[in-house]
């Protein structure tokens, strides 16, 4: 087995910058160097995911799940530690990046596909597949602003899965859309797993992670609480949630 995602002692902090973006604040800051209090989104986190494995990330708000996904995507850089990611990544974090309401569904699909890293030929070949999967063929040449939010979601998901990633990063976006489409998305993630692809799934939903992931990482306030077999970690997590309530 080869390892495709490796986090080694990764720490990431954010400093709150609210209201410090103007020249006035910048100048004042030069003279009164008030040390800003950093917020540690991740402290000393290590884990690895083998090829074909699915890892679930669980924890409450502010646990650091999204930070892990953002780091794995390459959107942010860690303060310290190393991150290795091998293969093409598709992130279902916030779908529809670059979507514009005045452009048609078809135009948005092309732009989004280019942003997700599809090459021209791939984008041409996959266009029909994307439209089919989204199930909104009849309005594909209408401007996006005429779509319902569910329709936009379908389109965005359809493009993301069409990129044929080696690694799929999933945040809790699947909560949106109707039940039938939700099931279709889950089915698609299953297919990925069967094809030997790697999945990193962040969720509040312990049941979802039990069903989908071999192993799990329980996060709390930027630290790893427990890691191991999905069933065991979920048992411990759910016990602690019940105990806390």
């Amino acid at each position: 087995m080869s390892c495709v995602i490796r986090f080694d002692r990764v720490t990431k902090s954010f400093v709150h910058h609210a209201g410090r973006m103007l020249l006035r604040e910048r100048l004042r800051h030069l003279f009164h160097r008030a040390p800003a209090e950093p917020f540690y989104a991740l402290s000393d986190v290590s884990f690895r995911v083998e090829a074909g494995e699915s890892l679930g990330l669980i924890g409450g708000n502010g646990a650091g799940k999204s930070t892990i996904l953002n780091l794995a995507t390459g959107l942010v850089q860690p303060d310290s530690g190393t991150i290795e990611v091998r293969g093409r990544v598709a992130a279902l974090l916030e779908l529809g990046a670059g979507f514009h309401p005045d452009l048609t569904g078809a135009e948005n699909v092309r732009i989004n596909a280019a942003l997700m890293g599809l090459h021209r030929r791939e984008a041409m070949e996959k266009f029909e597949e994307i439209v089919d999967f989204s199930g909104i063929r009849e309005s594909i040449h209408e401007p996006l602003r005429t779509y319902s939010s569910g329709m936009v979601m379908r389109l965005a998901f359809a493009v993301a899965v069409a990129t044929e990633p080696d690694i799929l990063l999933v945040d809790e976006v699947l909560g949106v859309g109707d039940e039938a489409f939700y099931q279709k998305c889950l089915e698609r993630i299953r297919e990925f797993q069967k094809a030997g692809k790697t999945v990193l799934l962040a969720s509040h939903n312990a049941l979802l992670i039990r069903n989908f992931c071999h192993s799990a990482l329980w996060m709390d306030q930027g630290r790893v609480v427990a890691s191991g077999k999905s069933a065991e970690v979920m048992d411990a997590y759910q016990e602690s949630v019940i105990a806390a309530s």
Partner: protein, 262 residues
């Protein structure tokens, strides 16, 4: 560190094409006159300035050349510069959604924003050539210099946009500085007056102003029908090289912290 944004291995050409087309469509889809707006603005400015500087104030020594054409050769490069510089400066902030969601190389954003302005520019250069033909300017081999000087000029603006867009993330006043700079620039580029009336002691400064250099090179080619002066092309090349190197450096130093600051 080198691992940052390693995950994007897409098709740059396809990406640029799509992003430029996106800007173009968004800008024109909600206008009933569409592309005509790109022509109306310079034509109106050209007419007003011709009226003011020929009829109201009286002419300078450029009286042998058709004044509207003369003014337009100054306006087109100036308009491109101000438009592209401003939209380039605010591009990272304007595209916060992309920066926060897609690991696409960040340099793409300001460069796209400058290149999107090239769509207007092409239309306006076409207008310039058509008006030139009407006033009897004949195409010649010298026109082969046009793509050369414009490529250098666009690279120069890309360099400025890279640097300014990165700084604008950290100091949001940058865009106002750029706007004021553009206002001043209008007067120090020979748009409505000719280079010949500039006193000798100031001429070197003008030659080193890349916007002025391009305007003068355009006039060499389109009005005088001669190749652009070597010193102008050289200065444009130096300006392009310096701003691209500096812009790339500044952008590279700051880009990893964009996410946290927008």
């Amino acid at each position: 560190m080198e691992s940052f944004q390693r995950s994007w291995k897409g098709d740059y050409l396809f990406l640029f094409e799509n992003l430029i087309l996106k800007d173009f469509r968004i800008r024109y889809r909600n206008m009933s006159l569409g592309v005509l707006w790109s022509l109306i603005n310079p034509l109106v400015m050209m007419s007003v300035m011709t009226f003011v500087f020929r009829r109201v104030i009286g002419g300078d020594d450029a009286s042998h050349t058709p004044y509207p054409l003369f003014v337009l050769t100054g306006l087109v490069p100036f308009n491109f510069f101000t438009g592209a510089f401003i939209s380039g400066t605010t591009s990272i902030i304007d595209n916060a959604g992309l920066i926060k969601r897609v690991p696409v190389p960040r340099e793409v954003v300001p460069v796209t924003s400058v290149l999107s302005n090239c769509v207007h520019l092409t239309i306006q250069i076409a207008l310039l050539l058509v008006l030139g033909a009407i006033w009897g300017v004949r195409p010649g081999l010298n026109w082969l210099w046009l793509p050369v000087i414009w490529a250098l000029y666009v690279a120069f603006v890309c360099g400025l946009a890279l640097g300014a867009s990165a700084i604008n993330v950290f100091v949001r006043d940058t865009r106002y500085v750029v706007e004021s700079f553009n206002l001043v620039l209008f007067w120090v580029v020979p748009i409505f007056y000719s280079f010949n009336i500039i006193p000798e002691k100031y001429r070197e400064i003008y030659r080193f102003n890349p916007v002025a250099a391009l305007v003068m090179a355009m006039r060499n080619i389109l009005i005088e029908g001669i190749p652009p002066a070597f010193s102008l092309v050289r200065n444009l090349a130096i300006a392009a090289l310096v701003t691209v190197a500096a812009g790339w450096f500044i952008f590279g130093r700051l880009k990893s912290r964009f996410y946290e600051h927008i």
